[in-house]
Amino acid sequence: MSTSTIKSVFWKGCRDGAPFILVAAPFSLLFGVVGTEAGLNIAEIMGFSVLVIAGAAQFAALHLMIQDAPTLVILATSLAVNLRMAMYSASLVPHLGQASLRRRALVAYFNFDQSYAMAIIEYERNPERPVTEKFFYFLGVVTPVAGAWYAFSLIGAVLGESIPTDIGLDFALPITFLALIGPMLKSVAHLAAALTSVIVALALGGLPYGAGLLIAGLAAMVVGAETERRMT
């Protein structure tokens, strides 16, 4: 594998990941500010953003810590919020399973919604890419996103309460997720899976700990796979 190919897939990843700075920056800034207001110091806020690096789970933990919930409840709730990532992990196996253990561990650390979704779209477009290129593409995608995540957590923690928490970017997160859906709709089976996911997730939206989404995800995977099997 030439260095120039690796560089070019890495940069392609960086370019594809760059729009997600729009999500990572305000979200992590908010975490820094809210964390400071709740009484965490800068090291603790950065501990969350670097060691956990999962927005929804960090906010869930913070929210419960503010309410003085028992430690076990905080851990169980926040980890449940992250359970969907086990499905992402399984879905990456056909593409990155051949990478070395150290590289798989690095991918796992950076395996969050945006990086996973962006990478899997690219892998399905070019399934024959060598595993090394797929790995460096993934690293490229996460570089701007994780960079913004760390940097803006720190800015939020340092500036704290002097930053207004109503930044008016509430819809940046939904828009970037929605932008990922269009390119995923490649067949009737994919469309059927997407519709199942939306309907079940909305119907079960009241379940705690994101359980509705997990059930929606499993149901939609079955619908997608069954539709594919019956149509071929």
């Binding site: 594809d16 729009p19 729009l22 709740a38 009484g39 603790e44 501990g47 969350f48 690096i53 789970a57 810590m65 003085d68 430690t71 905080i74 851990l75 980890l79 969907r84 990532m85 086990a86 499905m87 992402y88 992990s89 399984a90 879905s91 990456l92 056909p94 399973g97 051949q98 798989r104 561990a105 991918v107 796992a108 650390y109 919604d113 979704a117 899997i120 779209i121 509430d170 819809f171 939904p174 828009i175 997720f177 929605l178 932008a179 990922l180 859906i181 269009g182 709709l185 994919h190 997407a194 199942t196 996911s197 997730a201 909305l202 499993l218 149901a219 939609a220 619908v223 997608g224 796979a225």
Partner: protein, 108 residues
Amino acid sequence: MTFSAAEIWFIIIALGIGTFLIRFSFLGIIGNRRMPDWVLRHLRYTPVALIPGLVAPLVLWPEATGGTPDPARLSAAAATVLIGWATRNVIAAVLGGAATLALAMWLL
């Protein structure tokens, strides 16, 4: 919040390890072993099975309006998916969706 520094760091580290193990799970254990076809067939639908369900409540019941459906956000959402579907280009979809939202909020 009444947690001591030690308790806070215990929560951070336990959450970090747990999150990593969830993300590493299949990728770490299965590695390059071949998975059966029926498993692979289901896994192909993972992204499209989770991302729409993740975003649907945020679109239909946006936090900014206190959970009331909002025409501007709904039209921006529809535009984003359609542009992404038509162009297969994520960046075009983000920009198109943001432009639609700005326009709709100005019009409505």
